[in-house]
């Protein structure tokens, strides 16, 4: 894709389109023949090969048409000043999007007649928003690629589950402890990886996530191994539980209303909402403190940091510890929400999902991460009706995303200090490959 749009005649354009679209058509044909054109039918005595030429033709035509549309769209885009214009547009949009999203999040469970499913989905999305924001501290701000973030999620969850199982601790007692334990494990991970960077750091953190999971799986006498831990208590509302039986000591009994599972879901929703906001608030505060600035400087250039007198070891360890702490909080919440946890909930795919949320959102951007969590978690769940085509649409969405916004939803960064007017800086304005 060239940056300048040369003035060409309509005929030249048409030829270019035809040539390009023709190439796409041939490519589509080559790919679609085995995938769409041929079909195996099961028979009584084996398999038979069937042909679907019509469907194949439709697929190829669609691919060609899509290519033509993309070409037209590309030609219409004004290239010069696009990045700056876009940054300004995102900035102005951000002004409205943030309060709108926040208002929507606050009011979601209060919508009259809303199904429990949607509140529960909100809880799930919000959990990932919080995990995304937590990992954003490590990956987005400090630039330390962590592929084992699920380890801290697991530590938080199992801290609560075990303390509740053996010592009957409640959720509210365990919440700070879970964060603390996770932060300690964050430091434990941080020490051996102090000297590692990039790919090597990613491999060690990946292994760390697996180690935690394997220890939990195999330490059967303590954790129950693959059987997991049952009957983890739900959180209480100032001592009131959410049992559906009603009566004294329950939420519904105290307020004299009918017991409804929605009450618990709504309560859980607001807990995770509050925890997520806390994560966000702490991150935004830290960004303006020397510690947060040191994280960002570390992401940019480690050698320069050291030559300016920044203690790189402490900076990395605090990033790991604080990021892990929020993972621990989220894990504790996960345990109380699920009632039951097992090592199956803490596989590598969780780390990958959270990392995908951070990267998709635009590493370092709080709003972007929240949007990405909605896209990555909420939309696949809502698309369940599409059954087998769900992942197809999801994949398509990700491909479009890579083409249109390769640096994440929100790739601008607001300086943490500014003389006079604050100015957004678009990452598209600066060359890649630095730092």
């Amino acid at each position: 894709m060239s940056d300048a749009v040369p003035a060409v005649s309509g005929r030249d354009t048409l030829i270019r389109y035809l040539r390009d679209a023709g190439g796409v058509g041939i490519l589509a044909l080559a790919i679609f023949v085995p995938f769409i054109g041929l079909r195996l039918h099961g028979h009584m005595n084996g398999l038979a090969l069937g042909y679907r030429p019509k469907l194949l033709a439709i697929g190829v035509v669609l691919a060609v048409l899509a290519r033509v549309l993309v070409l037209i769209w590309q030609d219409r885009r004004v290239h010069q000043g696009r990045a700056a214009w876009r940054a300004a547009r995102i900035a102005s949009a951000g002004k409205y999007v943030t309060p709108l999203l926040l208002g929507f999040a606050v009011l979601l469970p209060l919508v009259p007649g809303i199904a429990n499913f949607y509140i529960d989905l909100g809880v799930l999305v919000m959990t990932y928003v919080m995990l995304g924001w937590g990992l954003n501290i490590v990956v987005g701000l400090a630039g330390l690629l962590d592929l084992g973030y699920v380890a801290f999620y697991a530590v938080g969850a199992y801290s609560f589950a075990l303390l509740a199982h053996y010592y009957h601790f409640t959720f509210w007692e365990c919440l700070p402890l879970s964060g603390l334990f996770a932060a300690l494990w964050g430091v434990c991970l941080g020490f051996p990886v102090l000297r590692l960077r990039g790919d090597y750091l990613a491999i060690v953190t990946l292994a760390f996530g697996e180690i935690i999971r394997l220890v939990i799986t195999n330490w059967i006498s303590l954790t129950g191994g693959p059987n997991g831990i049952y009957n983890i208590p739900h959180p209480t509302f100032f001592g009131l539980n959410f049992n559906l039986g009603g009566g004294a000591g329950t939420f519904s009994g105290f307020f004299g209303i009918d017991p409804d599972p929605k009450q618990l879901t709504t309560y859980l929703y607001y807990i995770i909402f509050f925890l997520a906001l806390l994560t966000n608030w702490v991150t935004l505060r830290l960004r303006r403190l020397p510690m947060g600035r040191a994280w960002e400087a570390l992401r940019e250039d480690e050698i320069a940091c050291r030559s300016l007198g920044i203690n790189v070891r402490n900076t990395k360890l605090t990033a790991f510890a604080i990021g892990a702490m929020f993972g621990g909080f989220a894990g504790c919440f996960f345990a109380t929400r699920q009632n039951f946890i097992s090592p199956d909930s803490f596989t590598f795919i969780e780390s990958a999902t959270v990392l995908a949320i951070v990267v998709l959102g635009g590493a370092g951007s709080q709003l972007g991460v929240a949007l990405a969590a909605v896209v990555m978690i909420g939309i696949p769940a809502l698309l369940q009706d599409l059954s087998i085509y769900r992942m197809l649409f999801f994949g398509l969405a990700l491909v479009i995303m890579m083409v249109v916004r390769p640096r994440g939803f929100v790739s601008t960064r607001t300086p943490s200090i500014a003389l006079g007017r604050r100015k957004l800086i678009s990452s598209e304005l600066i060359s890649e490959g630095h730092g």
Binding site: S307, S427, L429, I430
Partner: protein
């Protein structure tokens, strides 16, 4: 004059490879000292060794009467030795002001504004670019930013590693002019590593010539400039 920095018998290694062989070097207070030499002679290594990375294997580095040979890199930086590393190494995604703020790790908050104003006096261009991202500056501006960032810590000793790298001659002149101004007006001590031997020796009070990790010649800037072997090795073919 008292001694700002003195190295005696310093050796340094990268793994098995010896990069510095018994370096003796002194920098007096208020001096500009330059270190010249060919590619791979060990100029940058010597500077990095003073900064503590890699650490000297033998010998000692005394800074203002204090032995800093075994100090950690960030501790050395906190002793008001400012270092503008080779290749500028500014923070590309942070704004100019944030870059400068990162340099002010050790100064008190009250001094920050004063120091900032001083930098804008020295490099007015940076003031125009204050809210711009470091990575969007031109090469010369980035070098100015790197020097200004190092100076934000109110250093006693400024170490510059090839500030002329990849810059147009006019910009080099500007940068060297600023170094001279800092030295004359503020009495800043400067240790300068340079490929551009002619410019560096003209600027410096004294110079050292480094060959294969060892110092082979030293003397006043003008004196070295006049020596035929320097001319032959470093100055032929323009500057």
């Amino acid at each position: 004059m008292s001694t700002m920095l003195s190295l005696s018998g310093v050796t340094a290694f990268y793994g098995q490879i010896q990069a510095l062989r018994g370096i003796d070097l002194t920098v007096e207070k208020g001096e500009i000292v330059t270190l010249i030499g060919a590619n791979g002679a060990g100029k940058s290594t010597l500077m990095m060794t003073i900064c503590g990375n890699p650490r000297a294997r033998t010998g000692s580095i005394i800074y203002q009467g204090e032995d800093i040979t075994q100090c950690a890199m960030h501790d050395i930086a906190r002793k008001r030795i400012a270092h503008a590393p080779e290749g500028r190494r500014i923070f590309p995604r942070m704004s100019v002001e944030e870059n400068l703020l990162m340099g002010a790790q050790v100064v008190k908050f009250a001094d920050y504004d004063k120091q900032l104003a001083l930098m804008f006096d020295l490099f007015p261009r940076l003031k125009e670019r204050i809210n711009q991202r470091g990575g969007t500056l031109s090469g010369g501006e980035q070098q100015m930013l790197a020097i200004a960032r190092a100076l934000m810590s109110k250093p006693d000793l400024l170490m510059l590693d090839e500030p002329s790298l990849g810059l147009a001659p006019l910009v080099v002149k500007q940068i060297f002019g600023a170094i001279r101004q800092l030295n004359r007006e503020l009495g800043l001590t400067v240790l300068l590593v340079e490929q551009n031997a002619y410019q560096a020796l003209r600027l410096a009070h004294r110079g050292y010539v480094l060959v294969n990790g060892a110092i082979t010649m030293q003397g006043g800037g003008a004196e070295l400039l006049a020596r035929p072997e320097i001319k032959a090795a470093y100055l032929e073919g323009g500057h």
